[in-house]
């Protein structure tokens, strides 16, 4: 097991994956769960650990996005909604993140990858396994909604 390589990748990429997942789920507890599952998959996957950091980062983004889908399914069946994350709710939120929480989840990851990570549409399409036109539409709609929500929050 490439423990030292894993440790190196874990330390250098954890925050990037954390921010991506947080931009989608917008709560710390679920973000931590998804990160644990994502990095566990990396730890078990020797082949991926042999790739470059840039490739591993894209792989981690892809896996964590899939994990958020599983979380979405799980949430559908959760009957204890409201119990989680009680301690995090009191945290002060900042305006853009507030605005993100008001728009549909499907727009959040493309917006984050485009504006924070600086990926091109074609790269986002590969990470999210969607067509480029789909990503363009999501970015366009997401951007418009984000602007509206952001404006409302700042008025």
């Amino acid at each position: 097991m490439e423990t030292s390589r894993f440790d190196e990748v874990y330390k250098s990429l954890f925050k990037d994956v954390f921010r991506l997942v947080y931009s989608y789920v917008l709560n710390i507890s679920d973000t931590e769960d998804i990160l644990q599952k994502t990095f566990y998959k990396l730890y078990k996957n020797k082949k991926i650990l042999k790739l470059s950091d840039i490739e591993i980062k894209k792989w981690l983004f892809r896996v964590s996005i899939n994990e958020t889908k599983d979380l979405k399914k799980l949430l559908k069946y959760r009957i204890h909604e409201g119990l989680d994350n009680i301690e995090y709710k009191t945290k002060e939120s900042v305006s853009l993140i507030n605005a993100l929480s008001k728009i549909k989840k499907e727009y959040r990851i493309p917006l984050y990858l485009y504006y924070y990570e600086g990926y091109k549409v074609s790269e986002i399409a590969k990470i999210m396994k969607k067509s480029e036109s789909n990503i363009k539409v999501r970015l366009h709609r997401g951007r418009e909604l984000l602007k509206t929500e952001w404006r409302d929050l700042n008025e």
Binding site: D7, Y10, K11, F14, K15, F18, R19, Y22, S23, S29, E32, L35, Q36, F39, Y40, Y43, K44, D70, K73, L74, K76, Y77, R78, I79, H80, L83, D84, N85, I86, E87, Y88, V94, S95, L96, I97, L111, Y112, Y115, Y116, G118, R143, L146, K147
Partner: protein, 266 residues
């Protein structure tokens, strides 16, 4: 573009992950991996021993090691703030029902969802539903029903309670149950995480021969609990309040909680 980009960078750069979180998750990953390896070894050993036992002694009757069905697995952990947390996950059961029952698809929980008599749903779906003297209702409300190829894959009901029961000692509110069937492709079961100061206890329900999880989420002057029970493939969550004026000791609270659980029956 640049303004949005700047805002993204400004706000997401503020999200800091402390080292203790990093270490905790990394340790969990190593621990999980080691457990996985150990489990594999144990399974191989157990299977080998079992085969040896079968060959050497023939059929083994195991009445003396009969145990109740433990539907939840849970673990305690220490959170960053030093408080104890409990994480639990139940097994996923696929309920066998009358998949073609004439139950409409419902996708949202609203006040206008259809009410049914418990007996009617039992007959329609060919299932049994838990009842209790404390729930004091013969009606349930259909909250959600999903179908795949016209077959019921998931359905959720709530008990139409809300009245005070048993001299105002226990009040049940928002008690629900749900199940998934073989037509569901999503995850199922109950997952809980006692973030913060929630207290969780496990209780073995003798009448049902299964275990239940009791979460105390009391705040201020009220004693509130959420109880998870999985029985016969149906996932139940009972949210109940105990009147703090009439029940003013921990022992009495416990007595009524356990009495509630033991009162559950078909």
């Amino acid at each position: 573009m640049s303004k949005i980009s700047d805002e993204f960078k400004k706000e997401f750069n503020q999200i800091e992950v402390d080292n203790s979180t990093l270490d905790k998750i990394e340790n969990n990953i190593y621990h999980k991996y080691n457990s996985y390896k150990r489990r594999k070894k144990i399974v191989v050993t157990v299977v080998s021993l079992f085969l040896v036992a079968i060959v050497s002694t023939g059929i083994v009757y195991a009445d003396d090691i009969k145990n109740y069905v433990r539907t939840f697995k849970f673990k305690e952990y220490i959170k960053d703030n030093g408080k104890k947390g409990v994480y639990g996950k139940s097994e996923c059961f696929k309920k066998v029902i009358n998949y073609d029952a004439p139950l409409d698809e419902v996708d949202t929980e609203t006040d206008y969802n259809k009410n049914y008599k418990i007996k009617d749903i039992e007959d329609m779906l060919n299932i049994k539903i838990l009842k209790s003297k404390y729930l004091e209702t013969e009606e349930i409300k259909q909250l959600k029903t999903y179908k795949i190829n016209n077959k019921i894959s998931y359905t959720m009901f709530s008990y139409n309670t809300g009245k005070n029961n048993n001299n105002n000692i226990i009040r049940s509110r928002m008690s629900k149950f749900y199940f998934v069937t073989k037509y569901s492709s999503g995850e199922c079961g109950i997952e809980f995480n006692s973030s913060g100061s929630l207290k969780a206890t496990e209780y073995y329900v003798k009448n049902l021969d299964t275990n239940a999880y009791i979460f105390n989420f009391s705040k201020g002057f009220s004693w509130d609990y959420i109880i998870f029970v999985i029985y016969d493939g149906i996932n139940y969550s009972f949210v109940i309040s105990i009147n703090p004026i009439k029940v003013n000791t921990d022992e009495l609270q416990e007595y009524y909680l356990h009495d509630f659980l033991e009162s559950l029956h078909y």
